[in-house]
């Protein structure tokens, strides 16, 4: 196990290195840069400002030099660079924004568990009965309906019908109740697909366990059904939960781009959208590398947890 973790840890920087190169090259391939945005993008006649911004960003250097400077700053000084658009250091921005995105993400995972486990369990226990079909229908619905579409409906309809908004403007924890109201809606929407997936996996896992020999033996011993399910079926079925929760951590980051834009949450997602519009390469690169690192670490943790909770798994 230890050697597996070491191997995986060693793979992270290599993977990140490849990601940085891909991100760097792709960003340079997109038409327009921060110099054009900042200086008005009016043809080729804004040389002074254009050159100044490009120099400030190091865009006047060769691609190799630009990459080396950027990557070495991150590796040696943990410095993600300076945004010419917001005039802020990425490092000082990244903390609060990760926290804002993280709050929504954590809450969405809580919702995922609260939706997925009970729905999956009931569906398995009452397999083949109307309630099973009903819950499975809603699980498929949760997977099929895009959350950004639901988000738009949730934004618009209360305003049209009752003249109010379900998610007010961002206030932070100075006003805890309003803050929870703000993050609860996007978190719930983000959790729907994960909750539906989890419900389906919990259901199939439990059905598999319910048909096991040891469950039949438990019943034969005369144990009550509640004890059989609660003690012998539930626990081994929960292994899948770790995979889903781990994946949900990663999906939250992707989903945050749209949800934060719709609900105006000043997190990583909204940041990256603004950065793309402003061709703020430094921010985009920093955020993508951060997302990638996050994903790699979470995947490793999930794999380790997986082996830990299931003795049958050996690396």
């Amino acid at each position: 196990m230890s050697s597996y973790i070491v191997r995986r840890l060693l793979l992270i920087p290599i993977t990140l290195f490849i990601i940085t190169i891909i991100v760097f090259i792709f960003m340079r391939a997109v038409p327009g840069d921060a110099g054009q945005v900042k200086c008005g993008a009016a043809g080729s006649f804004d040389e002074t400002c254009f050159e100044q911004v490009r120099k400030e960003l190091g865009l006047d250097k060769s691609l190799f030099e630009q990459y080396t400077l950027w990557a070495s700053d991150i590796v040696l000084r943990w410095d993600f660079g300076f945004s010419p658009i917001s005039r802020e250091h990425i490092n000082s921005e990244i903390g609060p924004r990760v926290w804002n995105t993280g709050q929504v993400g954590l809450l969405s995972i809580v919702f995922t568990l609260l939706i997925g486990i009970p729905v999956g369990a009931i569906s398995a226990i009452r397999s083949g009965r109307p309630i099973d079909y009903g819950l499975r229908f809603f699980a498929v619905l949760g997977l099929s309906v895009p959350n950004f579409w639901l988000a738009t409906l949730i934004i618009i309809f209360p305003a049209v019908w009752w003249g109010t908004r379900v998610a007010p403007d961002w206030v932070g924890w100075e006003d805890p109740l309003t803050h929870l109201q703000i993050i609860a809606v996007p978190a719930f929407l983000l959790s729907l697909a994960g909750g539906a997936t989890l419900a389906r996996i919990v259901r199939s896992s439990m059905l598999e366990v319910l048909r096991s020999d040891f469950v039949r033996t438990s019943r034969a011993k005369g144990l009550r059904e509640a004890a059989v399910v609660g003690r012998h079926v539930f626990r081994p079925s929960m292994i899948a939960l770790f995979t889903i929760v781990g994946l949900q951590f990663s999906l939250v980051l992707g989903g945050s781009v749209i949800m934060e834009s719709i609900f105006n949450i000043p997190g990583m997602g909204l940041w990256v959208i603004s950065a793309v519009a402003g061709r703020d390469f430094i921010v985009i690169q920093g955020v993508v590398v951060f997302f990638a690192a996050w994903f790699l670490v979470i995947t490793l943790l999930v794999d380790v947890m997986y082996a830990w909770v299931d003795p049958r798994i050996r690396y």
Binding site: A41, P118, T152, G163, T164, N264, P266, G278
Partner: protein, 633 residues
């Protein structure tokens, strides 16, 4: 080492079994909760129909009651609105001072310099004084920094300035603002174009001829004389543009020759309080003294509103929800369907009036100038009346190079005669002009990914393909490269035609769509129609300019003639002849049909909102500069 209450838990080894048991317990608990909620689902079969019937009856009754209440409410609301309006109109004492105007927009602006930016330029207008403001609705100019003006001859304008004008405390230490500051501010434009990449159209300032012999006299601090290089019939309305802001020389110098990053460089009624990626806030300028008298929408006393906010809200649905919920005072231009939907919303007022939009189909002059038959074929292939039905929901009129609000515009019947839809003739001309050889790969156009609607572009592309047999590839562009694609240097444009529209600067007939046809307007930078006389012609090889020089010179000459024709009747004739010339030569812009009515969604609590088309116009007294607008608490 002392450990707290939680320490023992941190140190305790957690077993795999315990974790699973915990997970199972949480899951079971949650399942029980859901089961309780779902339980007892097979005992109420008999009760259900009765309940359903009762519910249906209750719903019907409720619906009736709601309708009655709604009708009563509507009647009351209408009466109340009428009463409030009458009160506001008749009794100035009803004006309420204070409050915050809550604006919202999709993205932060790229420059703070009023001589550079055209991306929502009205946002900086709050922080600057201007010589005057102009209302297209009232067809009248009102003095802002100027108390009055006279025009002794065709090329001389003399302005008297208010006494005691000051910059805000952060601009030049809050010193007095003088006529020299006005002269300095207007003199910046040529440099802003050549060195700062200004997006401000040259027609907004080029008429003064600062770079062609015009001069400014400042005999004293409150007198300014502008000696134009040539007569300009629209001089006074042109000075109303928000780009004509009065800036402090010291602020420009401190900014390295520009104000792109300098927030407070003027002496307007407000100054920036904060600017960041969530938006901007504005507070009152403590040095601002108001005006010596009420002049149109300028007030003698302080403007009524205390503060302004610009919230950056990227999602359009979120912006709409904010307005509907009463959390914002502006949504912006809306279409007819939205206007109908918003009509009964308590937090919204829909401002409606005759539109003065223009929309154009810009052809890349470099590609089209030498192919008159193909230009005509292209125009004949577009079903203009169907465009009005499909794109404008039937609420539109035929567009012309002069905006529909101006008396100089050609009559609709004549436009229909000049701009026809005739697919058979279009195909014949296309074949005669060798269209398939000239454009073997079809056309490319740009489609904005940030626009509210792309119906108009898709309609045109489809119409051309159906009636001319030439496909169009739609090249998507976001805000960052949209302008860059539009203004790419001559010979490097990827598009064959570019569909654009704006109603941002439509107070003068010389501007509006007309500016896109002439080399010294958008015609060169956008349309690629350069002439050898054009200030930027030196940037291009002779063989490129040769392609468009002939027709560009003719267009520019006709345009200059109308600008120099001060007599209104004579000017109307010149302008109408110019429009006919453009329609019959199809170069290099095809005017598109435009809406006949414009709708604007604003917060219901606002009073004295400027009418359409002034409302959001950067050249006129839109809501950003209407000091007599107020908020009802």
């Amino acid at each position: 080492m002392a450990e707290g209450y939680w320490g023992k838990y941190w140190r305790r080894r957690v077993s795999r079994r315990r974790v699973l048991a915990g997970g199972a317990a949480v899951g079971a608990g949650a399942a029980a909760l859901v089961a309780v909620g779902c339980g007892d689902d097979d005992d109420d079969d008999d009760a259900e129909p009765a309940a359903a019937t009762q519910a249906a009856q209750a719903t019907e009754a409720a619906a009736e009651a709601t309708e009655a209440a709604a009708a009563a409410e509507e009647a009351e609301a209408t009466e109340a609105a009428a009463a409030a309006e009458a009160e506001a109109t008749e009794a100035p004492s009803a004006i309420q001072r204070g409050g915050t105007f809550r604006h919202q927009k999709s993205s932060q602006n790229t420059s703070l310099d009023p001589s550079v930016t055209v991306t929502d330029p009205t946002w900086t207008a709050l922080t600057y004084s201007h010589l005057l403001g102009y209302s297209l609705v009232e067809e009248e100019a009102w003095g802002d920094a100027a108390t009055g003006w006279e025009q002794p001859d065709a090329t001389t304008l003399v302005f008297s300035l208010e006494d005691g004008l000051k910059f805000n405390p952060e601009a030049a230490g809050g010193r007095d603002m003088t006529s020299e500051d006005v002269a300095f501010s207007y003199s910046r434009f040529p440099t802003s174009l050549s060195e700062l990449g200004s997006e401000v159209n040259q027609l907004q300032w080029g008429w003064m001829g600062v770079d062609r012999g015009a001069s400014f006299d400042t005999p004293d601090a409150t007198t300014l004389t502008i000696n134009l290089a040539f007569p300009w019939a629209s001089a006074i309305p042109s000075l109303g543009s928000s780009a004509m802001a009065i800036v402090a020389r010291e602020a420009v110098e401190a900014g390295g020759g520009h104000l792109k990053d300098t927030p407070n460089a003027g002496g307007g009624a407000y100054m920036f309080d904060n600017i960041d990626d969530t938006g901007n806030t504005y507070k009152r300028n403590p040095n601002y003294r108001g005006h010596s008298s009420d002049r149109g929408r300028f007030t003698a006393e302080m403007p009524y509103i205390d503060r302004w906010e610009d919230a950056i809200v990227t999602d359009p649905s979120a912006r709409e929800a904010r307005l509907l919920a009463g959390d914002s005072d502006v949504l912006g231009g809306i279409d007819k369907i939205q206007a109908e939907l918003f009509a009964n919303e308590g937090n919204v007022q829909v401002i409606e009036g005759p539109a003065n939009d223009h929309a154009i189909m810009e052809l890349d002059g470099f590609k089209w100038a030498q192919h008159p038959l193909l230009r005509e074929a292209l125009s004949l292939s577009i079903d203009w009346e169907a465009y009005i039905d499909v794109v404008l929901d039937g609420e539109g009129i035929r567009g012309a190079p002069v905006g529909p609000a101006f008396s100089q515009v050609l009559p609709q019947d004549e436009i229909r005669e000049l701009q026809q839809f005739d697919p058979a003739r279009a195909k014949a001309l296309w074949a005669q002009g060798g269209g398939d050889e000239v454009f073997p790969d079809g056309f490319v156009t740009v489609i904005a990914t940030f626009g509210a609607s792309t119906r108009h572009i898709e309609f045109i592309a489809q119409s051309i393909e159906e009636n001319l047999g030439v496909p169009t590839r739609l090249e998507p562009a976001d805000l960052a490269n949209y302008v860059a694609l539009a203004t790419a240097p001559a010979g490097q444009k990827i598009w064959h035609y570019f569909i654009a529209g704006e109603n941002s600067l439509s107070t003068i007939p010389d501007y509006n769509a007309l500016t896109h046809y002439v080399p010294n307007g958008y015609g060169a930078i956008f349309g690629g129609v350069y002439t050898f006389d054009h200030p930027l012609s030196a940037a291009y090889p002779e063989e490129i300019i040769e392609v468009t020089n002939e027709i560009g010179t003719e267009l520019q000459a006709r345009y200059d003639l109308q600008g120099a024709t001060v007599d209104p009747e004579e000017r109307k004739q010149v302008l109408q002849d110019l429009q006919r010339y453009i329609f019959t030569n199809f170069c290099c812009v095809l005017p598109l049909p435009v809406p006949s009515v414009q709708y604007y969604a604003m917060g219901a609590r606002l009073r004295n909102v400027p009418g359409v088309p002034d409302i959001a116009n950067n050249a006129s007294m839109g809501y950003r500069r209407a000091q007599n607008m107020w908020i009802e608490a």
